[in-house]
């Protein structure tokens, strides 16, 4: 038997049984993980009354785009909520990346007296889950006039994502050889110029990781948006959908919820599949929350 089996890349024997098990298990698991999401896609093109009815072969495949049309014209102003979510997620990604890049550079390359304390504070803040400080945070943001404000939500989301971002960027700068900066300094370049031109290509993967995580976290964030926003015009997509579900706008139409779910899924799936490399790099930095 050992003469017919080879070894795989982990150093283990590759047998026929294993190959069969892999094919069967892989196919089964593939179905388990894709079918529910694909089903969600399918639901979004069913009319609301078909979704909640016992399946009838006569109507089950009457597909329609009405749910997506209703995002624009229907109750709940879902298209506006999609816009709000997009603004919040993009601004959060941009602000987090800029602040984390600056701080990462500062921690990686500069010696200043407050550095150990400052860095300890960044790490300590990772231990404070925002879910647990929501009440005082709400009161404080209220005092700062940052509730019912997309800016407030951006600042909140940025803070949640910053500690992870700072760690990733500090690592990115630490892995760049110092000689590069030295020669740029000799040529008279400013700190800003050095980061934005000389170091940029080298730290870009790290920055992409930070931006990707911040965008996805802000796009799917629910508890903060639910707490800080009461003005319907400012609702993000998940909050608008919850209001739709709870009947704030009259009878629930599950078709709208199905369509909203698909809109919520698209950026996540597209960004993840396109930028998987950066996503996995972020995981390796060990700062992901469950």
């Amino acid at each position: 038997m050992s003469s017919t089996s080879s070894r795989n890349d982990t150093g283990r024997r590759e047998t026929r049984t294993k190959r069969v098990l892999y094919a069967v298990g892989g196919t089964g698991a593939f179905g388990v993980f894709t079918v529910p999401l694909a089903w969600g896609l399918f639901r979004s093109v069913q009319p609301g009354e078909v979704i909640v009815a016992a399946p009838d072969p006569a109507t089950f495949f009457d597909l329609t785009a009405e749910n997506f049309v209703a995002l624009v014209t229907g109750p709940g102003n879902l298209i506006r909520a999609v816009g709000n979510s997009l603004v919040v997620a993009l601004c959060t990604a941009a602000l987090t990346t800029v602040l984390a890049t600056a701080a990462g550079y500062g921690f990686a390359r500069f010696r200043f007296r407050a550095a150990p304390v400052a860095f300890a504070l960044v790490v300590a803040s990772m231990m404070v889950p925002f879910q647990a400080i929501l009440t005082p945070l709400y009161l404080q943001m209220n005092l700062m006039r940052l509730t019912d404000s997309l800016l407030g939500l951006v600042l909140f989301n940025t803070t949640v994502n910053l500690p992870f971002g700072v760690l990733v960027m500090r690592n990115a700068f630490s892995s760049v050889p110092g000689e590069l900066e030295d020669s740029a300094h000799i040529d008279g370049a400013s700190t800003f110029r050095i980061v934005t031109s000389v170091l940029r290509p080298l730290i870009l993967p790290g920055a992409a990781t930070v931006a990707l995580y911040a965008f996805l976290a802000a796009w799917t964030e629910f508890l903060g948006a639910l707490t800080f926003l009461t003005d319907r015009d400012l609702y993000t997509l998940p909050v608008a959908m919850v209001n739709l579900q709870q009947g704030t706008y009259g009878d629930i139409n599950f078709g709208y919820i199905a369509a909203g779910s698909v809109i919520a899924m698209i950026p996540c799936v597209v960004l993840y599949v396109a930028l998987q490399r950066f996503y996995v790099a972020g995981l390796a930095s060990g700062a992901v929350k469950g």
Partner: protein, 310 residues
């Protein structure tokens, strides 16, 4: 990975003369200015609320009206707060239900995709998709499919002959717990898979080759080599999923709002309602402080595990 949590001062390792030369190009003041904005954000929106929380927890703090000092009343009352104690009990139960299945499923998926086989990359991507989509959206999808008579969950169970397809999953505490647990196990095991997979791939192949020569079976290799060598990674993914479960909110808010009654009310959901529905902010904040302490302890454990991997 190993360098992530080491002290910042460890990065430049120059000798003293070189350091003097370097500080000309890297003046300390610039360093402080670079970290100041991020630090200010964290101080204002994370650390200040924490300090504020301690203060509020010693008052009655109504949203409207006069603030009165309440001493330790809010903390003493936790012992009599049946709703909170029930929420703690429920959260622990939920954590106990989902933790092991997430680990086992994550491990099984990692075993499936750890070798370079045809389609392994695709499978990896697919297994991680639900986690990327996020529990908020997954909960809305589950909401549709949990409806009696029309939802896919019931259709599938009825087709298998297990139920008559009219189960109202979300209006019964036990059934809702089962449904939400299955949703979460399916939704987040992809994260455990990725963490374990990178750990497995880092195990040197010689270890398995020599185990093979010694005649160790697949199971023996798994139990005696893979799992012991992954101890830290397994512990870390456990900590991540436990923290996630202790802080669970979204899936419960969307699918059951903590009901029926308070049957599926988690700690965070209870605190949310206490603060923003009953408007008892002092009491809610005292409960939050308890949660902060518990989660900080678990996170400290996580950071220690991470550091231990160097």
């Amino acid at each position: 990975m190993s360098a992530v949590l080491s002290a910042p001062a460890a990065a430049p390792t120059d000798a003293a003369p070189a350091r003097r030369a370097r500080s000309l190009t890297h003046p300390p003041r610039t360093g402080l200015l670079l970290v100041a904005p991020a630090l200010a954000m964290i101080a204002v929106f994370a650390l200040a609320p924490l300090a504020f929380a301690l203060g509020i927890s010693f008052t009655n703090w109504p949203l409207i009206g006069e603030v009165e000092f309440a001493g330790l009343t809010n903390y003493v009352n936790i012992g009599n707060d049946l709703g909170f104690l029930r929420a703690v009990g429920y959260t622990l139960l939920y954590t106990a239900i989902v933790t092991l299945p997430i680990l086992v499923l994550g491990y099984a998926l990692a075993v499936l995709v750890r070798t370079r086989r045809r389609g392994a990359t695709l499978l990896r991507t697919v297994f991680f998709l639900p986690f990327v989509v996020g529990l908020t959206t997954l909960s809305f999808i589950a909401l549709l499919e949990a409806q009696p008579g029309s939802g896919a969950v019931n259709l599938v169970l009825a087709a298998l002959g297990l139920t008559d397809g009219s189960t109202a999953w979300l209006v019964d505490g036990r059934l809702a717990t089962v449904l939400i647990s299955v949703l979460v196990i399916w939704g987040v095991s992809g994260l455990t898979m990725l963490l374990l997979m990178s750990g497995m791939q880092a195990i040197p192949r010689e270890v398995y080759e020599s185990a093979d020569l010694d005649g160790a079976s697949w199971w023996q290799q798994e139990w005696r080599i893979t799992i012991p060598m992954l101890r830290r990674t397994i512990a870390m993914s456990l900590v991540i999923s436990v923290i996630g479960s202790l802080l669970a909110f979204t899936q419960f808010y969307i699918l059951t709002s903590g009901g029926p009654g308070s049957a599926t009310t988690t700690v965070v959901l209870h605190i949310y309602k206490r603060a923003f529905v009953q408007l008892q902010l002092g009491s809610a904040t005292a409960l939050s402080i308890v949660l902060v302490v518990v989660v900080a302890l678990v996170t400290a454990l996580q950071l220690r595990l991470l550091r231990g991997e160097e």
